[in-house]
């Protein structure tokens, strides 16, 4: 049975590469049973988004007509 520390390793890893089927399954199983790890997963998700908020200011959300 996977413990929380190992689960956080997979939560982190899934932000950087695609998990294997086995990894995905054991993480899902652990998250289904562990509220603290579900919170940790949300926190990692938030950390994964800090970049977009650094580069884009409050008043300059990119429009669709931007040059590509």
């Amino acid at each position: 049975m996977m413990m929380c520390k190992e689960a956080t390793r997979l939560m982190s890893l899934k932000r950087d590469r695609r998990l294997t089927f086995q990894e995905r399954l054991s993480l899902r199983l652990h998250l289904a049973m562990c509220g603290a790890c579900r919170q940790c997963d949300r926190q990692f998700a938030l950390l994964h988004r800090v970049g977009e908020h650094y580069a884009i200011g409050e008043d300059d959300a990119p429009d669709d007509d931007r040059e590509r």
Binding site: T8, S12, R15, D16, Q39, R42, Y54, A55, D63, D65
Partner: protein, 201 residues
Amino acid sequence: MGGHVTEIDDRSQDERRRRLEAIRPRLVSFALLHLRDRAQAEDAVQEALVSAIEKDASFAGRSGYETWVFGILKYKILDAMRAQRRQGKWEPLDEDVDDDAIDRQFQQSGRWQPSARPTSWGEPEAAFENEHFWQVFDACMIGLPDNLARVFSLRELMGLSTGDICQEVGIKENNCWVMLHRARLRLRACIERGWLKEESA
């Protein structure tokens, strides 16, 4: 007709310079997170601003100007990081050493320590709009060991793939994943301590 167009160009150039001055502090703090050296961060931003002004005419889009400037700064930061690495300013990696700051969050069994159990941070959007969240985030980034901060900022602030980070930093991809895991766990613990505890106080 031609004069009219030039007038609009001048006005929009002034406007852009004002916007550059306005985002300068944010550019510096972004560069500082990567370079961890105030003088080098200021230099990288200065170069990016000069570059932005020079290329101003080639920037055709009316919006997204700040994002475009950040894009220029990213290349300047990568150049500066390569120089740091060449000059041997980076500490060698201790990949196999256990990270005490991580171990403290877990019991021997691998379960969370009761004192370290993650709690809710609320809606991400609310956190991102909260000035204090960013102060805590910056402070926690500064508190990270250089190696971890560098890999984290390349991954999560610049959006490089772990494959690209390996090349920039000169480590194996597996080490990169280990370092990102450590960086994320340290950051989450630090942010939770610094942010939520004060929010509820």
